[in-house]
Amino acid sequence: MEKGKILDLQAISVSFDGFKVLDKLDFSLDYEELRFLIGPNGAGKTTLLDIITGKTPALAGKAIFNGKVNISSQSEHKLARLGIGRKFQTPSVFGSLSVYETLEIAVGFRDRPGRFFQKLKTEQVECIKETLEKIGLTRKARTPAGILSHGEKQWLEIGMLLAQQPQLLLLDEPVAGMTRQERDKTGELLQAISKNRTVLVVEHDMQFVRQFANQVTVLHQGQKLCEGPVQEVQQDPRVIEAYIGRKREKAA
C-alpha cells in the first residue's frame, strides 16, 4: 500500500470474450491531481473507468481507493457514496425529472433511507441553489431534464457531481459534441470542480487537453504507453507511432 495515492491500480487485467482490454495495467493517481487519459479507440480508457467505479470486475489485479478500500469488493452505489463520482460520455439524466429534482437526488445520496420521505435539510436546499447558480440553470430549475439542450444536460451532470463533492472524479469525454461556447463554459466548470479533489478526464479533444492538462497518461492496447507532461507526451515517438495512420497532432 503506497501512501499519498488516492487511487492505486496494480496489474489490472480485463478481458471480454478472450480479448484483453486491459493487460496488467498499473495506474495511480495522487491526491488533488488533475490527470488526462488519452489513447486510440479501443485502448481501454472507458474500461479503466468502469473498473474504478465498480461497473466491471477486474479479472486479475488489485484496485485500492484511498489507501484502504478494495474497489473490486464494493458495489457501484457504495463506491459512489465513498466518494468516487463519474460523468458519463453521453449525458444520461433522468428525462422526466426536473433539473431541481435531479439535484435533489444528487444532494441526498448519503441520506439514510428513512429520510427519503422527509423534506431536505436547509443546507441541502442551499447546496442545490448554489449548484444551480454555478451551472447557470437557475432559471430552468423546473424544466424537465429531458428537454434540455445537449450542453445543458452536460452541465446538469456536472452539477450532479458538484452537489455530491466526490473525492475522485472521473469524466468521460466531457466536451464531446459541444459547441465552442459550451466547451469554454464546460472548461471553466471543470476547473472550478477540480479544486480540492482528484480528477481523471478521458478526452479526445487535443485542444482541450492542451488547455487544461499538465499530466497525461496514454493508453494503448490495454497498456500504459507513456505518462508525463502534455508537451513531452506529444513528442514521444511511441505515441506518434500509436496514432500512425490517423491524423497527427499538428503542433507536434
Binding site: H77, R81, G95, I105, I147, S149, M206
Partner: protein, 376 residues
C-alpha cells in the same frame, strides 16, 4: 416521456377533482340500486389494485403480469376467516370432502378477523417485497421481470388447485354467512361494506400520492429512467424498487380481502394470468403515471365490461377487445394522457409557459467542427 408543465392555477383546479369524485362515491348509495351498488363496490376494490399497479408500472416502470396472485392471497386470507365463521365449530365443508379430520395449524389463527385482515395485507406485501428484492438485486428488468411475475401467477394457481384439502381446490371458497357477526346477506351490511371500500380506496390513494410526491417517488421514477445512473449516484435501486412492489402487493391484498366481502367467492381462477393481465389493461386505459387515471380507467373498463356483457351477452368480448385496441392505438397515454394533452393545448395557447426551450443556433459559423478531432 416528457411531461409538459401545466400552469399552477390549473393544477390547483385539478386538486379538487379527487374530492368531487369522493363526494360522488359517498352519495352513490342514495341513487344506485343494491345490485348496482355492490357492482360499484367490486369495481372500487379493483381500483385499489390499479393504484398499486400504477405505482410500480407507471412510476417505477415495472410491469407486473402477476398481480392477481397478491389480490388472490388477500382474498384467500379473508375467505379463510369467513369460512371458519360460517362453519361454526365444525371443519370447513371442503375439508370434510377431502378427508381432512382436523383443522390445519395455519388455519387456526384465522378464527380472528383482525389477524385475517392483517395477514391479507401483510402476506402479499411480504411475498412481493421478497420476490422483488431477489429479482431486482440480480438486476433483472423490463420484460424479464414481467415474465417472472407471470410464471409466479401460474405457479400459484397450480399450487392452490393442487392443495384441495387446504384451499378448496378449483372451487375455491364460498358459502360465507357472517362478518364480525353481521349477516353478509343483509343490505345494510353491504352498504357499510361499500363505505369501508370507499374509505380504503381513499386511504390507498392518499398513501400512493404521499409516496409519489416524496423524494422516494422521485427516486422510483429515476430508477425507471436510468437505473444504472442512479447506482453511480450512490443509490441502490433494488430496495427502492422492492418497496414499491411490496406496497403494490399489499394494496392488491387489501383489495382482494374487500373483494371477498363484496362478492362472497374466491377461486384460483381469480388469481391467474388472465385476471392479472386485465388489471394491467385497467391501468393502461386509464393512463399510467397518474393515480386518478388508474382509478378512472378501472371504473370505466369494468363499467363497459358489465354493460356490454348485459346488452350483448354473446359477442360482448369482441366489443371489449375493440375498445382496448382503440384505446392503445389512439390514446397511448390512456385517458389521463389524453386529458393532459388537451389541457396543455388549451392552456399553453392561452399563456405560453416560460420554460419552453427555444432552440438556439449558438454557433452559426460551424467552427467547432474544425477543432478538437485531431486525435481520435
Amino acid at each position: 416521456m416528457v411531461k409538459a408543465k401545466v400552469p399552477t392555477k390549473e393544477i390547483l383546479a385539478f386538486r379538487f377533482l379527487p374530492v368531487i369524485a369522493m363526494l360522488g362515491l359517498l352519495a352513490a348509495p342514495l341513487v344506485l340500486s343494491d345490485f348496482r351498488l355492490s357492482l360499484l363496490a367490486k369495481f372500487l376494490t379493483y381500483a385499489i389494485v390499479a393504484l398499486g399497479l400504477d405505482l410500480i408500472w407507471g412510476y417505477g416502470g415495472m410491469l407486473s403480469l402477476g398481480h392477481g396472485v397478491f389480490f388472490g392471497l388477500g382474498a384467500y386470507g379473508m375467505a379463510m376467516y369467513l369460512k371458519l365463521e360460517a362453519s361454526g365449530n365444525r371443519l370447513p365443508d371442503f375439508m370434510g370432502w377431502s378427508g381432512v379430520d382436523s383443522l390445519p395449524w395455519f388455519w387456526v389463527p384465522f378464527h380472528n378477523p383482525v389477524f385475517a385482515i392483517l395477514m391479507a395485507i401483510f402476506i402479499p406485501a411480504l411475498l412481493a417485497t421478497l420476490l422483488g428484492y431477489l429479482v431486482f438485486r440480480s438486476r433483472i428488468q423490463g420484460v424479464y421481470f414481467s415474465i417472472i411475475t407471470q410464471a409466479m401467477a401460474l405457479i400459484m394457481v397450480t399450487l392452490f388447485i393442487g392443495q384441495q384439502p387446504l384451499t378448496g381446490g378449483t372451487n375455491g371458497m364460498t358459502n360465507f354467512s357472517t362478518v364480525f357477526g353481521f349477516s353478509l346477506a343483509d343490505t345494510g351490511v353491504q352498504v357499510v361494506l361499500y363505505f369501508v371500500t370507499v374509505a380504503c380506496l381513499a386511504l390507498a390513494y392518499l398513501l400512493c400520492r404521499w409516496l409519489m410526491h416524496s423524494r422516494y417517488g422521485r427516486l422510483l421514477v429515476a430508477s425507471r429512467e436510468d437505473e444504472n445512473r442512479l447506482r453511480f449516484m450512490g443509490y441502490n435501486p433494488a430496495p427502492i424498487k422492492s418497496l414499491a412492489f411490496g406496497v403494490s402487493g399489499g394494496l392488491a391484498g387489501l383489495a382482494g380481502a374487500l373483494f371477498v366481502l363484496q362478492v362472497g367467492l374466491i377461486t384460483p381462477s381469480a388469481m391467474g394470468i388472465v385476471p392479472s393481465i386485465e388489471m394491467v389493461i385497467w391501468v393502461a386505459v386509464g393512463g399510467r403515471g397518474t393515480l386518478w387515471g388508474a382509478v378512472l380507467g378501472t371504473l370505466l373498463v369494468n363499467y363497459g365490461k358489465s354493460t356490454f356483457s348485459e346488452t350483448f351477452p354473446e359477442i360482448w368480448q369482441y366489443f371489449f377487445g375493440a375498445l382496448f385496441i382503440g384505446a392503445v392505438l389512439l390514446f397511448p397515454g390512456g385517458i389521463a394522457g389524453f386529458v393532459r394533452n388537451m389541457l396543455d393545448r388549451v392552456f399553453v395557447k392561452a399563456s405560453p409557459p416560460k420554460e419552453i426551450p427555444v432552440p438556439v443556433d449558438r454557433n452559426p459559423s460551424g467552427k467547432e467542427l474544425e477543432s478538437g478531432v485531431e486525435v481520435t
